[in-house]
């Protein structure tokens, strides 16, 4: 098995050659991928916000941000800078401790979930065996933060928004987990690396989206609902609830909510790409192409090309899905809260269960195609 580039091994070995003990050299390595991933997520967030503004503008036949940087591409950074310098207001009758902890609890799980995002065979912070389950477990912490900030604001709109957000997350977590379970069953593993591995080899034809079309749709709907994106942005429906749980927040605390929601959208799009669209795999299998060209797998140039193609492919698929989400935002009207819960419990949940059963049956009857 070609393991691609092993940056960690090379880095640690080079430090050991300098005379450092192995434990210390590993200690030097550990923060690097984490910092890199946080920076990557933040840059991805800035790009995402810029895209959201530009595509929204295009959908409404406006120009959108134009002056800050070329094509307004620095607009998101400028916004962030503005939010840093804004006054941090805690309402007089709010519960200041919970009011402060709330946004932190919302943003932390999102960033920790990037632990299991793979960009290549070895381009992942930690290939924990739990993989995708860790993401599901961590994303279940978020509603507590939302409830906390909704309650602490001492504002009825905030409380309603927080309650709605929690109800929404709980009800859509179940179809989401069931859709993931069907994929996990096919790949016999919860590790994100193994899930992508199982889809590799046949290019675009091997991707899970062909074997799990229903699961793909369920997952996408549930992921949008988890991110509180339109058409499911009820917790902050501005016509009904002012801004939901964010109503009383300003400055950096508001920015934490804003960052969390966009980074979460990015994460969900990456997860759709990993689970259903073959992760870092290209539509045409690169290693076969290299085989036809007569290149050995150990060719260093080929490895660098494969790794960069992997990152590019993951980002391309992710932003394609993000584009879809933004278009949906300007195409679909918002659903009502009862429609939302009906859709989650009475439609998505039974369909996800049937999908799981059918997948299990197919896995037994057609083991060559469904991961036997």
């Amino acid at each position: 098995m070609n393991s691609g580039i092993d940056l960690q091994g090379t880095f640690i070995n080079s430090l050991r050659d300098l005379g450092l003990p192995p434990g210390i050299s590993k200690l030097f390595w550990m923060p690097l991928p984490m910092i890199l991933m946080v920076i990557g997520a933040t840059v991805g967030l800035l790009v995402l916000v810029w895209l959201e503004r530009k595509i929204s503008a295009a959908a409404q036949q406006r120009v959108g941000p134009e002056y800050a940087g070329p094509q307004g591409s620095l607009q998101a950074a400028v916004d962030g800078l503005k939010l840093i310098f804004k006054e941090d207001i805690i309402p007089a009758k709010a519960d200041s401790a919970l009011f402060t902890i709330g946004p932190i609890l919302v943003i932390l799980p999102v960033f920790i979930s990037y632990l299991v995002v793979p960009f290549g065979q070895n381009l992942i912070i930690s290939d924990v065996g739990l993989g995708i389950f860790l993401w599901i477990a961590l994303s279940s912490i978020q509603p507590i933060g939302l409830l906390m900030s909704g309650y602490a604001s001492n504002n009825k709109y905030s409380l309603l928004g927080g309650l709605r957000a929690a109800a929404q997350s709980i009800s859509y977590e179940i179809p989401l987990a069931l859709a993931v379970l069907a994929v996990v069953m096919m790949s016999n593993s919860m590790s994100t690396i193994d899930i992508v591995q199982q889809q590799s080899g046949y290019g675009i034809l091997g991707w899970n989206v062909w074997r799990q079309p229903v699961g793909f749709v369920i997952f996408w709907i549930a992921a949008l609902a988890e991110c509180e994106r339109l058409p499911f942005d009820l917790p902050e429906a501005e016509e009904e609830l002012v801004a939901g749980y964010q109503t009383e927040y300003s400055g950096m605390k508001f920015a934490l909510f804003y960052i969390a929601s966009y980074v979460n959208l990015l994460l969900s799009a990456i997860m759709v790409a990993v689970l259903y669209l073959g992760g870092w795999e290209s539509p045409i299998p690169l290693d076969r192409l290299a085989g036809w060209l007569g290149q050995p797998e150990t060719n260093p140039i080929l490895q660098v090309i494969t790794a960069s193609m992997g990152i590019l492919m993951t980002l391309f698929k992710t932003y394609l899905l993000v584009f879809l989400a933004i278009l949906m935002r300007w195409t679909l009207p918002r659903v009502r809260i009862d429609q939302l819960l009906d859709l989650g419990w009475k439609f998505l949940l039974p369909v996800a269960l049937v999908n799981l059963l059918v997948t299990a049956a197919l896995k037994i009857s057609l083991p060559f195609a469904f991961g036997g």
């Binding site: 434990g23 200690l27 919970l98 924990v128 065996g129 739990l130 389950f133 860790l134 599901i136 477990a137 961590l138 279940s140 912490i141 509603p143 507590i144 409830l147 906390m148 309650y151 409380l159 927080g162 309650l163 929690a166 109800a167 709980i170 977590e173 919860m190």
Partner: protein, 202 residues
Amino acid sequence: MNLAEGVQLVSFIILTVMMLGAALAVVLTPNIVYSAFLLGAVFSAMAGLYLLLNASFVAAAQILVYVGAINVLILFAIMLVNKREDFAPVKYAWTRKIVTAAVCGGLFLLLGTTIITTPWAIDSTAAAGDEAIYILGEHFFTDFLLPFELVSVLLLMALIGAIVLARRDIIPDGDALGDDLKLPEKPRELVSAVASSESESN
């Protein structure tokens, strides 16, 4: 002691302090909302301890089930029924607190001595780690099949019971039950009945 052991020891101390502190605070804070949030902290610290014991699946399940579902439901219940009521101070309330403290302390001592005196058979085989999922699945479908199915039936019964309680049209309305069994709630709005009949006629 190498680096990994040091990290483990420090995390163990932090988690234990966090868990004990939060657990005491759950019981001692007068504000029930704080108690509910601190309960979440206790559950998270417990998940951290599982992680230190190399049981990552159990840790994640702990977060998912206890923090993500049960604690959120408790919070939901508290926030939907949050009746701010000033309780009339009871005379000799402190005696009740002392009695409670004595009972709890006695229980703690009893359990503590039981744990210390029992000769535990400590399993020396290595922790399963990531293989734990397969082992758990095997147990669920072999020797733990009956308990597993019984639990699922129990959960189903609880689910149906909750639905029956929540749907007032199944239970006969107030007067037949007598005042003791009635839930304290706002009088039901008559507007909704009118609105629904209007929408039917439309």
